[in-house]
Symmetry: C2
Subunit: 203 residues, 2 copies
Amino acid sequence: MGISERKEREKEEMKKLILDTSIKLFMRDSYEKVSIRQIAKEIEYSPATIYLYFKNKDDIFYELHKIGFEKLKEKMLQVTISIENPLERLREIGKAYINFGFENPEFYNLMFITKAPMRKIKECKKWNCGFDAFNSLLQVVQACVDAKEFESENIEATSIAFWSSCHGLVSLVLRDRFLMFPEDKLNKLIRDTTNFILKMKPA
Amino acid sequence: MGISERKEREKEEMKKLILDTSIKLFMRDSYEKVSIRQIAKEIEYSPATIYLYFKNKDDIFYELHKIGFEKLKEKMLQVTISIENPLERLREIGKAYINFGFENPEFYNLMFITKAPMRKIKECKKWNCGFDAFNSLLQVVQACVDAKEFESENIEATSIAFWSSCHGLVSLVLRDRFLMFPEDKLNKLIRDTTNFILKMKPA
DNA sequence: CCAACTGCTAAACAGTGTTCAGTAACTTAA
DNA sequence: TTAAGTTACTGAACACTGTTTAGCAGTTGG
């Protein structure tokens, strides 16, 4: 049965080609601006061919969003394994998360801002990527509480609060909501805010 | 010169009609889904007519975003004037902001998430709506520091951190990033997180 | 050798934002 | 009152978008 195996392999390669090309276009223009026709042109196939490998546009960007989570996870691991103190670890995770957002704005967009991949996810009713990432955060927050770094009545709420603070900053920056500050002072302001957020504690 | 005055008035009325109709459609569907053609059909004019009153779609949603800020400002005022203690006032402002987001998701979307109105604003280089709103926050944070409720080396950074925390929570909810939590527990979780965020303090 | 299946595409459908030539009605001045 | 000028509006077009479908070559299996 070598033929059907080869065909299976070719199908996977085509899927990968479409995905890789999508990423390439996607690094320049945002999700909304990358069209199926553009992707098709880039890989020199007709637009209809793409629909033989992916159900629709959201499906493509759901796969891309998964790749983004792998990138983030990798970055997180690098940071997490080296630090013993749980509070220090939590802060480094926050820093890594924020930096990931600034360094990969379009991936971040897909993972945490855009509606697109969630439409696909809503069908399955569960957001596994988000669940895994949130779980590692939960563990670190739990470790902080165990080490009496701070108190928490509801660890999930505490974790979401930490996540929200980091996400809030990143998404406000990515969506140009700091246009009221002079450009030359903005970078320092973002750095100061990042440090401030990472040092906040429950009252 | 009664005629030119009447024409001026009619022009303003037409603008208002387009804007009101846009809001109406916009309360049901989000920015992306409301089309110029839909608005035109609703007011029983041709799509081209709308371009005699607004430069483009972004221009309409820039105006809508301003209306959103008026709504928010009103809500803020109701809360702010009645509270003496600055820390209490800050927390009530946060609560009002978060509730505004949950109660007016599409306005919130336009004001703080979507790119659309910022394209228009980037031309003018300054985001006045955001500037005004942020300034009132700045004042309250300053009042907190003056009353020694907490310390701050950089009041702007502290204010942005507070804003980020609130915005982070609202935008994660509005963009369906809590799909990993069971629906029946989500509301309590959001309430707990809100309370947690509003009680956070600088370390 | 022929039937079946596969991979692919041209073309179409229904929609989008936006522009522009042209029309019809209203206003102004002689 | 009439002719000229101005204004308000629109039909149709342009260049896009995501998605579907009928059909066409080429490969595969009996």
